[in-house]
Symmetry: C2
Subunit: 429 residues, 2 copies
């Protein structure tokens, strides 16, 4: 039996370059373990003349990605160029041509998942994207295969290594946001333009994918509320520590009787929560369900090597599919489901206020919370006189009410400023 | 397209009964999510007259498991009767008849894996066993699919919930072994005959399976050194805590240039090691490789509900395979590899000695370690006079040398007894 599978790559940056190097260097080890002869046949890059970290004949490189998709020697496409254009249409045309596609492109899957999955189904080939969430952590397969029979209720995780690296620096070294970001950029953990990571948009794409697979209903990235870490200060991280919390950027996918929801925002976690202990660029994801209880997956959330391992696992699966002549990817049927509006989600808030330290100030502030029907769990004053700071933690209430309460504080003379607002994630009400 | 798949079960105990209940109760939810109409067609039980926790027409029950395998209405077999006989031959005949098999039977897979996998390959159907290791934790698929392209170096885990429950009781409540075991039995965490769990034999089956899948070379359970928890005392767990360690029963699968090895034994872990924090019946498994770094999987290692979720995930996959007409399970090719003898494995030892507190005793004891070429990392004396206790922790040395050293201590007049020996697992040499 011919076990050779011709692979075409769209992109040869960090992930793609690492993948090519391993497909070449570990060709025999992979063949021994899987019985597959994986051959890189064509690679689309922006600049074919550039020096590369892998060793391939120059004629395999091209600047025309469509030529890779169309190449009859290419049976399987690996899309690691990123972005939606032109990646999306290239993936679509590969699937329509009956070529299975492996991608690490979370933005593309989040934005055009239903369309691409439908095209794959129609052609009877797989669209695999294990590396799109959690980097090297196997999470897509466990969620869509092993847990296919579980009525998953909640997925919560740290799914962006860049922001977790920055928050770890800020919490452990007291660094301010700008300094921690600059260090992350220097070390290659953050892009020169860090917006997608620090704004929570990257995590929102991943939350959308996790929610869609966990609940079997497609959640688009525009349906995911997201808030980034740009406004977090070392001061608030230090106050959080005093109160027994650690601040993390969390992605949530939740199903309740009212519907499903997904969101991304910084959250204070009790210091002994397993996610609070996840440091640096590591990712970690909890999956909760009525039968399974709690599952935890943790590992390297980014980086060329771990991500290339996840892509390679998908490539091996897609190659097996080509030889077997039948689709290996699980077919999740997406059904419509109600989406819960973010304003109706109940959360607890930490609010830092700069106040004038005068008699009656707490009573007036508490009055505003009360009028918005939000009850206060704890208040702590730091400093005195004109520089006094109040740290307020509320009980659970719908977002709309929390916002109304904090909005009304702006009108109080005694409140100099609302310094920060961070949601608190803990088991109690 | 007909999406109905007829399922036959061999066994309807805790796992099988839970699975049947869910296949019936959640039939429509599963159909919505997967597009599959899963029908329980025949169930083999020891006593068809017994009351069951699930609702099936009485005529579906039979005491003849071979009749379930042979039933033409049954396309897919779920083996959850456990044990090797008659389960092994029933699974083999199902595979030979072209029926995919899902099993949770670690003892069977460890003992007859190569034969059963070969039979599955020959018939072009899948043999799936996600539930055989780690209960509800997805570990078999990630290891054999997502990590198919990783040169895994080491798998270390807590893979037996019963012993971890007992050790947690002993460590946290100072309970002695017999008391903790009795409580585990009362709560249903331990069998009336707990031998398979407490002796490490169950964990050894799982270590054999993990090593085989991780390294692509079949390791039989008789090639796995195993040592149980029966001789651990509350005293040693308390001493371990004083020294900054927690004792866990660990399964190891390791690849070195000299070959592969698998072993199970109690081990002292630094208290801040992630596995040291795994409490009760929870399981947790680390996978380490050059590209992936470290992956951690944690969750419920046993129990009807979580295990049934893992079995159900496999059933859904096997049903998809039947409809697609091609094998979904990854084909791992097993190649021969050198096995490293346990005596050549280097470990560190904790040794508790009851000694006569006389001048020169430490020198004579240290002399014996020196003669065996084992160097001592730390010595601590507890108590004085005739009841003195020495706690010795050695540096890394091959097992054979550690054993020779401890053996020679028996001959010293000053050594009243060798109270305990526990291996120490930490990063340093």
């Amino acid at each position: 039996m011919d076990t050779t599978v011709g692979i075409g790559l769209l992109g040869a940056g960090t992930i793609g370059g690492t993948l090519i190097r391993r497909l070449v260097q570990e060709h025999d080890a992979i063949a021994t373990k899987t019985g597959l002869d994986l051959q890189v046949r064509r690679v689309a890059v922006r600049d074919p003349a550039k020096r590369r970290a892998f060793d391939l004949p120059a004629e395999l490189l091209t600047s025309d990605p469509a030529a890779v998709v169309a190449d009859p020697a290419v049976q399987l496409i690996v899309e690691v160029m990123g972005g939606q254009t032109p990646a999306g249409d290239l993936v679509l045309s590969a699937l329509r041509a009956g070529k299975p596609v492996v991608t690490a492109n979370k933005a593309l899957i989040a934005a055009r998942g239903p369309e691409l999955i439908a095209a794959a189904e129609e052609s009877g080939v797989s669209l695999l994207f294990e590396a799109a969430v959690g980097g090297g952590i196997p999470i897509i397969r466990p969620l869509s295969e092993t847990l296919a029979g579980e009525q998953v209720e909640r997925v919560v995780g740290i799914v962006n290594g860049t922001t977790n690296f920055i928050l770890t620096k800020m919490a452990e070294e007291g660094a301010d946001y700008a300094t921690a970001l600059a260090e992350a950029q220097e070390l290659g953990y953050a892009e020169p333009d860090p917006t997608a990571d620090v704004s929570g948009a990257d995590a929102a794409d991943k939350a959308a994918i996790l929610a869609s697979l966990a609940f079997g209903t497609w959640v688009g990235p525009d349906q995911v509320y997201h808030e980034g870490i740009e406004n977090l200060s070392a001061e608030d991280l230090a106050y959080a520590a005093e109160l027994g919390y650690v601040v993390k950027l969390l992605a949530f996918a939740v199903r309740t009787p009212a519907g499903v929801s997904a969101r991304v925002h910084p959250a204070m976690l009790p210091a002994d929560h397993p996610l609070a202990t996840i440091r640096g660029a590591t990712n970690a994801i909890f999956i909760e369900g009525p039968s399974i209880g709690e599952l935890l997956f943790a590992g390297p959330g980014a980086g060329g090597e771990p991500t290339a391992t996840a892509v390679l696992g998908d490539v091996i699966d897609a190659a097996r599919e080509l030889l077997a002549g039948a689709q290996v990817a699980p077919r999740i049927q997406f059904s419509p489901s109600a989406l819960v509006d973010f304003g109706d989600i109940t959360t607890k808030w930490y609010v830092r206020l700069e106040v004038a330290d005068r008699p009656g100030v707490l009573s007036r502030i508490a009055g505003e919370f009360g009028r918005a029907d939000v009850s206060i769990k704890s208040v702590r004053q730091e400093g005195e006189g004109e520089g006094a700071v109040l740290l307020i933690v509320t009980h659970r209430a719908p977002e709309v009410r929390q916002r109304a309460a904090v909005q009304s504080l702006h009108d109080l003379d005694e409140v100099r400023s609302v310094g920060a607002v961070i949601r608190v994630e803990s088991a109690e009400a």
